[in-house]
Amino acid sequence: MSAGHTHKLYRPARTPVHSLPPHCKIAAVLAFVVTVVATPREAVWAFALYAVLIAAAAAAARIPAAFLLRRLLIEIPFVAFALLMPFVVPGEPVAHLLGLPLSGPGLWGAWNVLAKGTLGVAASVVLASTTELRSLLLGLERLRMPPLLVQIASFMIRYGDVVTDEMRRMRIARESRGFTARGVRHWGVLARSAGALFIRSYERGERVHLAMVSRGYTGTMPVTDDAPATRTQWTYAATLPLAALAVCLTGWTLT
């Protein structure tokens, strides 16, 4: 708690990317990912250009390459799925690997998922590592996400650490009494812990609500900082998706 409400992904720095208003960044990343998804998969060079664009954005935000690559690991389950595709998709075999035929459409499908998925994850990582949680939520609210949803999300973020800590304390309590969960037989104990965690979270929610009501909460949060983005900032943020759009259009005309 002493570290403030920052998440592990955020990398504090003073770069032009960090100082952009959050809603510009969210809109830019979303537009970029949509453009990437809409690109035909046969335009292989286009994806290389997208990767260059993302790398440029990451460099402008001074995100180390190692950090970015480590965060890409989250994709692994679907990479496994993608690697299976050439074997299960029916189609003309174009190559053989260890005696197994690799089908052409399957290879294209695997490439498609891998390339687009990786670019999407990389774009999200750049967004998350340059934007603080609070401003991320503020950005979502300015993009007209329903205020109640933003409030729920902000409560989840705010109390996520508290609830996780509570779970950690319960685990330490279990372990200090000699309990180690080894198999299905011990699910009862873990489920009771989960039940207790739910009751504690719910009761904390009630207490938080009462505390808020006693401070004048009526169902909406006051807007404390409402600084709209300037045209320059929008233009600056739009360079990434506009460049991507140019690549995408070229891709469609060439293939």
């Binding site: 965060r71 998350a128 989840m156 009462l210």
Partner: protein, 401 residues
Amino acid sequence: MHVPDGFINAPVSAATAAVAAAAVAVSLRGARRELDDKAAPLAGLVAAFIFAVQMLNFPVAAGTSGHLLGGALAAILVGPYTGVLCISVVLLMQGVLFADGGLTALGVNITDMGIVTTVVAYGIFRVLVRLLPRGRTGLTAASFAAALVSVPAAAAAFTLIYALGGTTDVPVGQVFTAMVGVHVLIGLGEAVITALTVSAVAAVRPDLVHGARDLMRPLELRRVRPANAFRPDGAGTASSVPGSPAASSRRDGDQAPRRGPAVPGSLSEDRHRRTGPDGADAVAAEKTAPRRSVARLWMAGVAAALVCAGGLSYYASTSPDGLEKVAHDKGIDSKEEAHAAKDSPLADYQVKDVADERLSGGLAGVIGVGATLAAGTGVFFTLRWKRTRTAARAASESAAL
């Protein structure tokens, strides 16, 4: 099952995003109705709970472990609308913060994991909870079935989305078989965990299980007048709460003079709290349960204890339990003094001169239960006799005055 970008094509992604947005909008209205202005903090905390409980690992076997997905649990515990909101917020944050699930696939993910699981689970749960007998067993069974079906249903929904807009033409039949097959297994684990968790919550705070709110009587604050405590037979307390088990009402009587009437304190602290047999100031009064006679309860208890001690310890693991194991692992027990009774015929829960280890354990269990029972009953009768005498003396003194 978080779908990344590029897995589903752009038009279908947009369509599912629209479906997800509509469902979230409906849920926002519904959640306001379910929780009014408490919606934000409560749904937020429940979302944090779902997020945390997804990190709780349930070991399956040989180093593998699974975790809860939480759709069915959220639907049963907080209701379908709030459940959809919580899961959607968790998915949104996972997508934006942890890049788990693509941004363009957010609609697919919310439709699939947030809406389908929650709605299917809640529907099945409501139907079953009406059909099954009331009480915790029915509730647990209904949650089991709801969670069991909800996970393969999500897999089937994913297959449908994939058939509409998959970017690779894997034959739909194959995708369906693979997805549903795997997810039936996952659903089994999910069902066990969800049922156990719902049952644990229902035992302590049945008023918090939203899906059974109208079926379970709310816990009520019960106050026992101190005067009743001196009635020797506990009849006064039992009559003030008809139908409660005799044993618990007697305990109420014992504690009443010390605790006094419940003080209305802070709102959340004294509300319907029942922390087990000791926190007897608010006990669920099960009006439907017939009052059992003490003798029958006693007989059943003895039978259960004998079965557990004799039968189950026959099969029980011979490895040392919690504290013994820690002591053994850490070498604490190397200096352990031998117990004074180690030469007794029942030392280490084994009967001397009985060769078969398991049979011997079972026999020792039975004898142990018998001895404990005799000692416990003796203490109980002595105490009751004493209290009867004290009460009688007090009554005769007050009559003399």
